[in-house]
Amino acid sequence: MEILAFASFVVLVIAWLVAPSRGNVIAVTHKTEERKAA
């Protein structure tokens, strides 16, 4: 079980290395919400 615990953490570290460095930019502001409400 100790090996599994170590392995799961290592998998996360590897995932951070391969994960995209920049996501899609989604601009959500109160202003847009207020415009919708209006």
Partner: protein, 408 residues
């Protein structure tokens, strides 16, 4: 059984009760940040009001129904109505602390459980319906299931392990939240407009305070201030951290960015999952429980969204699924090396414990789902569950409370 009060145990239990008390307003902030600004006060009020309501319900009749002398394995007797007989001497559940200290510690669990459900019906439930629902749900769902598991009832007699409330608190609230979301229906604008959190910082603050309070929830459930409490403290922190890392990573890979709200929700999911196991598992198991919580809870939320179920603040995904995973994981990872008074799980050579845990999970799901449905339908007939559409669009802060959260 010794009946000498331990100053250390009593101090720890009272401190833990205070820590768990803090979790309910913390939940208000966690949920409050996730709703739109026109509903933040109403959302925080749900948690704050429940703290007051159940504090009174518990001392009048809740405690005796949950922990009073057993009646057929189903419910506690009325011997301790209005806390008659619950005094400064130790009671039957804890030999080294005053009965009142044990009672008030358990009160805080009874308080936070219905507050968890409020995330499912946020932004659309009539306040009067919410009040009646909470009172009925605490009496007819929480109190009996707490008795089944902790008060000498049939699940406890069967040997179900639930250290701090995976079945009693999280499965019951998570499943009831799903039922509530289905019965109330979707919010106005659901699927057509972005129903975005109005203050992510408030939510992260709430999650952090929940994490802090959870040390009382889990480590306090040892009742004694000793090694078992220390183990529960360590595995609680580890599972929360691991689940936060996992959730953030999965959402990063799935949606392209490491979500702050995802990390906060992941931490809560990890805290939920370790809750039933915290007195029975070691640190390695807590890492795997946290890992599972991050993956399973995140996946469950994606699924409920795909099915267009408007569980507004993801209560079922976090608490229902996280609680069920924690209860099952207890049957897998439990070991008497951590708690000599408990039982081994599957990996320690006792596969039967897994079956018992599955029975506890199934019974909690079935009972809480049916009872919640009945309660909601009754309230809908006599009071009405939802606010009118015009009031929902206006916002619950104005329509239900005639107040505004912000003047800026």
């Amino acid at each position: 059984m010794p009946t000498t009060i331990s100053a250390g145990d009593t101090a720890w239990l009272l401190m833990s009760a205070a820590l768990v008390m803090l979790m309910t307003p913390a939940l208000g902030f966690f949920y409050g940040g996730l709703v739109r600004r026109k509903n933040v006060l109403a959302t925080i009020m749900h948690s704050f009001f429940i703290l007051c309501l159940i504090s009174v319900q518990w001392v009048l009749w809740g405690y005796t129904l949950a922990f009073g002398p057993d009646k057929g394995g189903i419910i506690g007797g009325l011997d301790w109505l209005t806390l008659k007989g619950v005094g400064q001497e130790p009671g039957p559940y804890a030999a080294t602390v005053p009965h009142q200290a044990f009672m008030v510690f358990q009160m805080m669990f009874a308080v936070i459980t219905p507050a968890l459900i409020t995330g499912a019906f946020a932004e659309r439930k009539r306040f009067k319906a919410f009040v009646i629902f909470t009172l009925l749900w605490a009496t007819f769902v929480y109190d009996p299931i707490a008795h089944w598991v902790w008060g000498g009832g049939w699940l406890g007699q069967l040997g179900a392990l639930d250290f701090a409330g995976g079945t009693v608190v999280h499965i019951t609230s998570g499943v009831s939240a799903l039922v509530a979301a289905l019965v109330l229906g979707r919010r106005v604008g659901y699927g057509r407009e972005a129903l975005e959190p109005h203050d992510a910082t408030m939510t992260v603050l709430g999650a952090s305070l929940l994490w802090f309070g959870w040390f009382g929830f889990n480590a306090g459930s040892a009742i004694t201030a000793g090694g078992l409490a220390a183990n529960a403290f360590v595995v609680t922190n580890t599972a929360a951290a691991m689940a936060a890392l996992t959730w953030m990573t999965v959402s990063w890979l799935h949606k392209g960015a490491p979500s702050v709200l995802g990390a906060a929700a992941g931490a809560v999911a990890g805290l939920v999952a370790i809750t039933p196991a915290s007195g029975y598992v070691d640190v390695s198991a807590s890492i795997l429980i946290g890992l599972g919580a991050g993956i399973f809870c995140y996946t469950a939320i994606q699924l409920t969204k795909r099915l267009r179920v408007d569980d507004a603040l993801d209560v079922f995904g976090v608490h229902g699924v996280g609680g069920a995973w924690g209860a099952i994981a207890t049957g897998i990872f439990a070991t008497v090396a951590v708690n000599g008074a408990a039982k081994d799980g599957l990996l320690a050579g006792n596969p039967g414990q897994l079956g018992i845990q599955a029975i506890a999970v199934g019974a909690s799901i079935l009972y809480s789902a049916v009872m919640t449905f009945v309660i909601l339908k009754l309230i809908d007939v006599f009071v009405g569950l939802r606010v009118p559409e015009s009031e929902e669009v206006l916002g619950l802060d104005a329509s239900q409370h005639r107040e505004a959260a912000y003047q800026i």
